[in-house]
Amino acid sequence: MALTFRERFEIPKKYNTWSIGLMAAGLLSVIILFITHGSKADDHVSARFWASLLQNSVYFLLVVNAAMFFICATTLAWGSWALTFRRVTEAISACVPVIGVITFVILMVLVWGPNHVLYHWADSHAAEHDAALKFKSGFLNRGFFTVWTIITIVGWWLLGRKVRHISREIDNRRLSVEEGKRYIWNNTVWSAIYIVLFALTVMSSIPWLWLMSLDSHWYSTMYSWYTFASSFVAACALITIFVVFLKNLGYLELTNREHLHDLAKFQFAFSIFWTYLWFSQFMLIWYANIPEETIYFIKRIGDGSHSGPYRGVFWLTLIINFLAPFLILMTRSSKRNYGTVTMMSVVILFGHWLDFYQMVMPAGSPDHMPFMLLDLGIGAGFVGLIMFVTAKSLAKHPLLAKNHPFLKESIIHHT
């Protein structure tokens, strides 16, 4: 074929202006929030500042990390359709070390610092006189938290880097059939190792440690899956946004409506999966009506006698994370429409940010919902950071994994 491809992504000037502007806005929000809340002597006031940092950093870290999960899961399933835009997914996952360091610093300040409003269990005096926290202290203690957090973030970073390296190392040589078989096997093994780490972290222990321990007396077996579903559907939305953006600039010639259709299917399916877990967690607790479990929802939506401060956000997330994608992305034609899918991607990305907001914020501000503008500002800062790092990583490597043995399947992909 005499087709020419634009293999190198050149970062547009305006794009960099935007990403740096967003990062500046984020930094400004952090500073303002620090002055208004973070610097106050009252731990309950400054907790609101830390809750906002925790929510944003953890959310965006899990989202960019889920991009690597997307690669590994499709690799394990031998799903080749995502190969035409694989470099975009890889570039998004390259944000893990950057946001990982930020998240790590925030978590360490919360665990080892003096403010224990958010992580109540980290206060050793409180934990000693609390039967429930004492019982959990084998798992919920500062040492284990720190070690496991380091292992997790470093593991995501190194394994992700390994998977990206495997993909890039064949850019300049064509593989024979035998080499191709070995290459696929190698890819499969490393993806499988990543998935095992992912199962041990995002799908189980990490949401327990980082987020569920904010309500340290409460527990839910649905929680980790719920968090995973949130981050994965948001990652699919993020990938879609970048793919559409690059297509608009004239890159990714081989990615077409068929690929968009499948990305939108992922968003549709995992929005429903998220709702399934949302509802399973809610209904079981509602049905059993055990005080130690219902406390979580009473803090958010309230009970019969009073309404909780977060009920608006709580129900809004259900509408924009379930009803909107369910009804709007249901038909085939809307899943194949660039405009509709892009709009829904933005909505989903924001919706799950909002979901994390109601998961984290009640720990920092239990009595009233704080004004959201500065939290959105910090979120915008992280978006700018992701834009910046992703574009840097995209520009460094060819946009097409052109020697991958399965590439042809992706080019002729048909839904």
Partner: protein, 196 residues
């Protein structure tokens, strides 16, 4: 239904079939249908068939299921026979969601299967004419409907020129009829050649 005359061409290669479909449509002949042994990606688009509305029907079946489940449970548990389950309100919506979900799935699934069978005219004892027995095995069979103005010889030559392995003219029933293979001689009137 009626019996109609068809020019039937058999192809043994997808790579020949697709350009042939394109040429036949360009020449203005009316393709009755193309019968293939397996689903062929993109053939529906090449034939210019519109997307099926089956899923739209499925949505409304699902909606009907949702309404049936919610309506019946609400009627039964709040109006007809209110029961106190563990101090929950009579209108205990979260507890009904799983049943509502199941009914939605059941209605849409069963409804879509029945609609599919109706659209494809599939049912026990319903019989239809076939153009070529090897359409279920290894041949792609294209049937072109003849009108008053169609010159069969011209169509046959045209199809032969497009790479058809076998071209013939058949008179076939386009509709369906009820029968059983034991009694029904009609599809087997002619000796069917064994595939060698």
């Amino acid at each position: 239904m009626a019996e109609k005359k068809f020019v039937v061409a058999s192809f043994d290669d997808e790579a020949v079939l697709f350009p042939a479909v394109k040429q036949v449509r360009r020449a203005g002949y009316k393709i009755h249908d193309v019968y293939t042994p397996m689903p062929v990606h993109g053939l529906d688009a090449a034939l210019g068939l519109r997307d099926t509305s089956l899923h739209t029907a499925g949505f409304f079946y699902g909606l009907a299921g949702t309404c049936t489940a919610l309506g019946f449970i609400t009627w039964a548990l709040t109006y007809d026979w209110p029961l106190n389950f563990g101090g929950k309100p009579f209108f205990a919506l979260p507890a009904w969601i799983p049943i509502t979900f199941e009914m939605t799935v059941l209605f849409s699934a069963v409804g879509m299967v029945l609609t599919f069978c109706y659209l494809c005219q599939l049912a026990p004892f319903v019989k239809k004419d076939h153009f070529h027995p090897r359409a279920t095995d290894d041949l792609f069979v294209m049937a072109i409907e003849c009108t008053d103005k169609t010159n069969e010889g011209e169509v046959s030559d045209f199809l032969n020129g497009l790479g058809a392995k076998e071209v013939n003219t058949q008179i076939k029933e386009t509709g369906w009829w009820i029968g059983s293979y034991a009694d029904d001689k009609k599809p087997f009137q002619k000796q069917v050649q064994a595939v060698s």
